[in-house]
Amino acid sequence: MRSKVLVIAGLCFMSGLLFGSGFGLFEHGAKATGMAGAFTAQADDPSALFYNPAGIAFQKRSLYMGTTAILPSADFDGVGPYPGYGVSESMPDQKFFPSNGTIVYPLNDRWTFAVGSYNPFGLGTRWEDPSQFTGRYISTLAAIRAGKVQPTIAYKPQDNFSIAFGISYFGAKVSLEQYVPSINPYTQMITNVGHVRMDGGMDTGIGYDFGLLYKFNSNWSFGFSYHSAIDIDFDGTAKFTQIPTGFADFDAIVSQAIPWGKHDAATSIEFPAVASIGLATTAIDRWTFEVDVNYAGWSSFDQLALEITDDPELGTVRVSDWEDVYNYRFGFEFRPNDALAWRGGIVYDESPQPLWDVGPVLPDSNRTGYCAGFGYTSGSFIFDLGYMYLTFDESDTAGVSQDQYYGTFSSSAHLLGVAFTYSF
């Protein structure tokens, strides 16, 4: 049994290259996704390890596997002075699969153990035709993969109340790419003379998790969950590759100007604390309603500093100064019979990113998600499907961009979650 858990954990660890408010992810279960993530006060399937670890105290012995296909799209329309009116850019089609594998194992009437792994953060910003992308000297690729394994113990002192505590073994990788510009003396225009790729990780950190679930009576419940911030120092490499321009003497000068080749590089990211509270009711027969508020402590993300160990002058510091944010979620479920469940919900997700920081590295904005879901129970099996259409407010960086990269970013995403729960 133990080895199986590790296999699932390992799979999930590597699967995500992801997409969420800031770069957080909230889609860790198809049932919750169908209700827009308003699940903290229900937490009645194993995805509770994220939504509210205390929920496992009320669950049977079960195995859970799920994934969410995320299909984002993003476009950029420039204004002056740079890149200028009429310039359009887009991201290539990408697919991300943040996944969740969890086992819940009640030890006795009061204590329940669970372990699961999922991808709490992820980012995948890349641009079409990178060597010609007008923002290529800022960023052509910014990717963060993060996964964690979260063993959790829950205690249920009374039949209507539980608390849980977990330890998160957190691992992440980061990749950054951009081009190096120079004026070509022969053309008196800008040309690519080099390419930089920074790879950090897989580096690890440890955090903790907490949950509380209280059922006032048979109709009302309250939940609270908290995942701590995790600071990760990435040690990796930065590879500087010269790009020949075709002008031999200019290339010879360029080759001496920059220490090309692989250098040790370091960066660090503090992944923020995430907290949720939720209130759910089943006061209307066959219906469940829940409202949640989530908090994410994104002010932890104040800069992205790239340090080149042997040549500090090559390093960069990009100030971000993100803000703490709240998300607001509403979800419902209707159960026409014991086997079927229909779900829906809506989420308003605040962006932690100030407008002046919006750019080719990460173009975030406030978003609204519209959700629908479906669940089917047959004996020991539960199958859940959850869909979310996420629309982003347009971000117009005209006159404010710290990258001097002006225009409107517009994004949207389709998310389709699927999950199986097997009780045994």
Binding site: G78, V79, G80, P81, Y82, P83, G84, Y85, G86, V87, Q132, T134, G135, R136, Y137, I138, Q178, P181, S182, I183, P185, Y186, T187, Q188, M189, I190, T191, G246, F247, D249, F250, A252, I253, D403, Q404, Y405
Partner: protein
């Protein structure tokens, strides 16, 4: 597709400030004419800053005194960056030295004045009073139809771009000789003529007017590129003199010495002399003949030119303010470029020769990219001063090839000159200049 295109056109019309002015006219000098790399040529004139402003306003036609390839005079080209010994030493030469092969006027028969009336070499006085210069640039562009000011007013513009005065002060730098009243327009004359210019323009037209000012002489690569030191051609290192400090060229010295002082500016025009051994002591393989006074700016000359530029800019600002005319601060743009660089989307533009991106091969006039930045600064001044929202020139059009008419193919011959002292140019030199400035 057609409908999409149509929608796009409508959108661009509504967004880009089209229709805010219907007639734009520019008066000025070479910087207004679109002079670049030592000459005037069609492709660059079409991207002169007034032509770019007109394009952003949707004004067409915008008539220019177009000149055919290879330019008038023929444009300069870069033939190589390295000397025989591998030191940085660019070879820059005109496409042709034979005037019979230079470009010819293409739009001489236009039955009305040009919309871009900028005349290379024009001073403020020329702008007000010169109709003919006996076969020079004025005749080419003004064609006997009146002074720049007269012709501009006759076109009844509703937007007038006025960038004049550069030659009144910086002409002294080009000539390497700062003599008030001779190479520098007297301050009181400039102030009076500038007031006269704006009085005439505002009395003779109801156009919105925008004025440009004059940059500091030490922001020009024509002045700052060549270091004052003798350099060993085989090592690229400065030659150390008997007193242990780097040796400077032989040349004009404010204090009467035979060597120039380290804070003397050696002009780009000195390179031809240095290649012939001027400025280099005979013991080091040179001719022992000092660099001519017209290819160096001594500290006293530099200070004089700076003093005149500052005074002229005060006059421009005062006259403009009295008429409510916004001023495009070109001097500030180049100061920013010199001290910090102009940063745009991960690229940095500065005043370095060849690699800074702003100045063309003559070290004095701008590149296409530099003129695009100038056009945007003018547009910003118009928008701020007159409450418009004219869309800036899309800079990406000027940052990346294909563009440049004189971009050379990948195969070229490096012409190597026999240098007695190789000249380290580009980054290293500008660092030296900055150090001097800091020491001062």
């Amino acid at each position: 597709m057609k409908r999409l295109l149509f929608a796009f056109v409508i959108l661009s019309l509504s967004l880009s400030g089209f229709g805010q002015y219907s007639k734009v006219v520019a008066i000025g000098d070479s910087l207004t004419a679109g002079f670049m790399s030592g000459g005037l040529v069609e492709t660059n004139q079409l991207n002169s800053y007034p032509a770019l402003v007109a394009r952003q306003l949707g004004i067409s036609p915008f008539e220019l005194p177009l000149i055919s390839e290879p330019g008038l005079p023929a444009l300069l080209e870069l033939h190589g960056l390295l000397s025989e010994t591998g030191q940085l030493s660019p070879t820059i030469e005109a496409i042709t030295d034979d005037p019979t092969e230079w470009g010819v006027p293409l739009n001489l028969t236009l039955a009305r004045p040009y919309d871009n009336l900028g005349v290379p070499g024009a001073t403020l006085n020329n702008c007000l009073n010169t109709i003919t210069d006996e076969g020079g640039m004025h005749d080419l562009i003004l064609r006997g139809l009146g002074t720049q000011v007269q012709q501009a007013l006759s076109l009844q513009p509703d937007l007038l771009l006025v960038w004049i005065g550069n030659n009144d002060a910086l002409g002294a730098a080009l000539m390497g000789t700062a003599i008030p009243g001779v190479t520098l327009t007297p301050k009181d004359v400039f102030a009076a003529q500038y007031a006269d210019l704006m009085d005439t323009l505002t009395a003779g037209s109801s156009a919105d007017i925008v004025a440009g000012n004059i940059p500091d002489v030490t922001t020009l690569p024509f002045v700052t590129t060549v270091p004052p030191y003798l350099v060993n051609p085989s090592t690229g290192e400065a030659v150390i003199g008997p007193d242990g400090s780097p040796m400077t060229f032989l040349g004009q010295n404010d204090g009467g010495g035979i060597f120039i002082t380290p804070d003397t500016f050696v002009l780009l025009t000195a390179l031809d002399y240095i290649k012939m051994g001027y400025g280099i002591p005979a013991t080091l393989g040179g001719t022992g003949i000092p660099l001519p006074a017209e290819v160096v700016l001594t500290p006293a000359e530099t200070a004089t030119i700076q003093e005149y530029v500052a005074d002229f800019n005060n006059s421009i600002q005062a006259v403009a303010s009295s008429h409510g005319i916004p001023v495009y601060d070109f001097a500030a743009l180049l100061e920013l470029a010199l001290h910090h660089g102009i940063e745009i989307a991960g690229m940095t533009f500065n005043t370095e020769f060849l690699t800074g991106g702003l100045f063309s091969y003559d070290g004095f006039h701008l590149t296409g990219l530099g003129y695009a930045l100038a056009a945007n600064a003018f547009i910003e001044a118009i928008n701020d001063g007159y409450g418009h929202a004219i869309e800036p020139v899309p800079l990406s059009d000027y940052f990346f090839p294909p563009c440049c008419p004189h971009a050379r193919s990948n195969s070229f011959d490096v012409e190597v000159h026999d240098l007695r002292a190789s000249i380290l140019i580009m980054t290293q030199h500008c660092k030296n200049i900055k150090q001097y400035r800091e020491l001062q």
